[in-house]
Structure formats: C-alpha cells, structure tokens
C-alpha cells in the first residue's frame, strides 16, 4: 500500500511542479487576503489575538482552494477509473491525496507566514518560531486528513465548488480554535507560549480522530 501511495503522491507532486496550479494560487490568495484585512481593519500592524485570527482564517480559506482542486484532475482525466481497475489497496489513494495536500500546505506556509510577518505582524516572528512551526505542522496534518476526505466526498457532486467550502469550514472549527488560541500568545510582544500543551493536545487529538475516520470510510467513496 505504501508503494502505491508513494507512486500516486509522486505523480501528484510532479503534476503540481509542472503545471504550478494549486500552490501559487493559494499563496497569491493569502497575500490578497492580507491586503483586504489591512484595509478592512484599517490597521498597519496586528498583534495578539487579532494577528493569530487573521493568519489562521486566511490559511484555512486558502486551504479551500487546494481541497477543491485535489480530486479535480483525477475525475476529469479518468485517472480514478484506471486506479480502480488496478489491483491495489484503495486506501492508498487517500494516503497519497492527504500527503499531497500536506505538502501543498507546508509549501504555502513557507510563503504565507513570512509574508504575514512582513506585511501585517507587529511583534517579531522569530521569538516564538519553533512553537509556531509545531502548531502549523500539527494543524496541517488534521487539515490534510479532513481536506482529502471532503474533497473525495464532494468529487461526485454536481456542485463541487459549492460543497467543499461549506463542508470543510465547519469541520475545521476545532482546528481553528486550537491553532489560533495556541498562536495568540506567540504573537504578543515577547512571544512567550501559554497553555501550549492543552491546545497541542487538542490539535493532536483532532488529527488522530479524523485520520482514523477517514481511513475507515474512504474505501466506500471509491467502491464502484
């Protein structure tokens, strides 16, 4: 299964590398949203809960773009039919898609977080950077698991572009609560973490539960 998943993942990343479809669009989107927040809030620099809220809401909205595109090529080009014909474990498709989404999100954050620090963040980003990286990675795991599941759920629907945000955003509210609350003290002057363990436990628990659920039900979305 790992080998199949690695092959599909390699194919996805190669397509993304050549077409540059999802990640540049997501990065462009985040910078645009920062500009919108600058004018919408009429603030030149943000700190504390406002900064952490703006960053996380922007990242989650950008993730919607990636999730919408995740299965699009597969359906349009008939890649899924070929995959179903092959004598391989179907769960490999979920693992590959979630891993691809995880890579997209990490790539996005490498651009979006420094851009946020330059454009909007008041305090210095480097004060709490190790903790922030940990929070980002934990949130990305959960987002990748839920995103791959939602993308597969919406793939058969006539109204895919409509269903993905409506389905994904309520599902990631616990993720937003954990990530934004854990990030908020890091974005205050000084950047000392506060209650970090509690929120990391929430993120970790969310990741675990949704990975298990997605692995359990994903086969039923492909079975034809």
């Amino acid at each position: 299964m790992i080998r199949t998943a690695a092959a599909v993942l390699r194919k996805d990343l190669l397509i993304e590398w050549r077409t540059k479809e999802a990640v540049p669009a997501m990065a462009l989107f985040t910078v645009t949203v920062y500009v919108l927040f600058h004018f919408g809030l009429d603030r030149d620099s943000l700190d504390g809960e406002l900064a952490s809220g703006v960053l996380w809401v922007t990242l989650l909205l950008a993730a919607v773009i990636g999730v919408t595109r995740l299965f699009a090529a597969e359906r349009e080009q008939g890649g899924l039919d070929a995959f179903l014909l092959a004598p391989v474990d179907r769960t490999a498709m979920f693992v590959a898609k979630a891993a691809a989404l995880f890579v997209y999100l990490v790539a996005l954050e490498i651009v979006a977080v420094p851009a946020f620090a330059v454009l909007l963040l008041g305090p210095d980003l480097f004060d709490g950077l190790p903790e922030l990286v940990l929070i980002l990675l934990l949130a990305d795991v959960g987002l990748a698991a839920v995103g791959a599941l939602v993308s597969a759920l919406a793939a058969e629907s006539r109204a895919r572009e409509l269903i993905v945000p409506l389905l994904l955003l309520p599902l990631v509210v616990p993720l937003l609560i954990g990530a934004a609350s854990a990030t908020e003290p890091l974005f205050r002057a000084g950047g000392e973490p506060e209650d970090l363990g509690r929120y990391l436990a929430l993120l970790g628990g969310y990741d675990l539960v949704f990975l298990l659920i997605a692995l359990a039900v994903f086969d039923f979305l492909l079975d034809d």
Partner: protein, 232 residues
C-alpha cells in the same frame, strides 16, 4: 415494515407530551432567579439533547448501511438527520429567546453549548446539497452515509474544542442539570426528555412509512403504465 407499532407509539407520544406540558405549567416550581422565562428550559434542553442524539444515531445507522449494503438504513439515517435539523432550528430559536430574556442579548458567544450547537447545525445543513447533488441513487446513499459517519464523530470533538476555547466559564443553568436541580424540576425535565424522544421516534417512523409508501406507489404506477403500453 416501518409502520409496525406506529399507532401505539403515536398515542404514547401524545399522552407524554400532554403530561409534560401539564407538569411544566402546574407542577414544576417557578425559578427563584429567572421566574416564568425559565420554563423555556423544558423545551429547549430536551430538544437539543434529542437533536444531538438523532445526529449520532444517524451516524450509527449509516455505519449499518455501509456494513450491510441495505439501502433502507440509508433512508433511516437520512430521515433522522432531517428531523434533527428541524429540531435544531427550534433549539437555536428557543435558545436565542432564552438568552434575550435572561442575559439581555439574542446571542451570547461565551455560551459554549450554544456555539457548538450552531457549528454542528451549520455542518449538517450541508447534508442536503451534498445528498441531492449526487444523481446515482446507490452512490448517493453511500456518500450520504460517509458524511453521516464523519459528522457524527465530529459532534463530540467539536463540543470539547469549543469548551476548551472558554477561558472563563460562564455561570450556566445547563451545568446544573446533572445533580443540583430540585426534585420537582428534575422529574418534569425527565418527562420532557421522554416526551421529546417519543415525538422524535414517532415522526421518524411516520416519515419513513410515508417515504416507503410513495416509493411503492411510484413503482406500481410505472408497472401499470408498462402494462397499458404492452396492451395498447
């Protein structure tokens, strides 16, 4: 198949609901703090509990559907979600009325139960567009079941997360339902939960019977048309 025992169930639901109303208005004492407004508690809380129970039950029925491949379990799950959404609308409205009367605002963000309920409600509202934008009936049943399972598991996670977000706990009436509710109020509350549950199950069975009957009628009609065509 679904209509079995519907009549006695309906009678029991009506009797318990009437009893619950009688207890609420004539037996349960007035709340010393909130007065008459507190009576909305006997509608609001049972409705919320039964709606959440309905969502979780729909998830379990969906597991049964995916396990057995029997599409009647998908129908059961769908009707349970449908009724829970209707109750959920009632929960949000009565919650807002209660909040306005006792706290002075229509909506309070620092009430974790209310906020969690809104998130769950928003998520389940997407069940309809998802279900009805998939044309193939077999696939529609399968995808809806996957949704029902994932969303059912989401309910407890969401409640934990929203509660964690509350740094300062707000004094709540709901937290008293466990032990410190006085005897008469407690009895009334339990009867109200029972009445709401019976009402839910009755409506659920009724809707299932109606759906089954109309499907049968459709099948008979098309068979009749085929026969008429063959004869003519």
């Amino acid at each position: 198949m679904f209509s079995k025992g519907l009549r006695p169930l309906a009678v029991a639901a009506v009797v318990t609901t009437l009893a619950a109303f009688a207890l609420v208005f004539f037996y349960a004492p007035l709340d010393a703090d909130q007065g008459f407004v507190q009576k909305i508690f006997y509608v609001h809380v049972p409705m919320a509990i039964v709606a959440l129970g309905g969502f979780v039950a729909a998830g379990i029925m969906a597991i049964k559907h995916l396990r057995t491949g029997d599409s009647s379990w998908d129908l059961r799950s769908y009707v349970a979600i449908h009724l829970s959404i209707i109750l959920g609308t009632g929960v949000l409205i009565t919650g807002a009325i209660w909040a306005k009367a006792s706290w002075g605002h229509w909506w309070v963000w620092d009430e974790p139960v209310l906020v969690s309920f809104l998130i769950v409600f928003l998520l389940y509202c997407v069940y309809y567009p998802l279900r009805f934008s998939i044309e193939d009936p077999e696939r529609q049943a399968r995808y809806s079941s996957v949704f029902a399972i994932a969303a059912g598991a989401f309910v407890p996670i969401n409640f934990t997360a929203v509660r964690l977000a509350e740094a300062v706990t707000h004094p709540r009436v709901l937290s008293q339902t466990g032990g410190s509710l006085p005897g008469e109020m407690r009895l009334t509350f339990l009867v109200c939960i029972l009445a709401m549950t019976l009402l839910f199950v009755t409506l659920w069975k009724l809707e299932l019977t109606a759906k089954r009957t109309s499907a049968q009628l459709k099948r008979l009609r098309s068979r009749l048309e085929l026969r008429a065509q063959a004869a003519g």
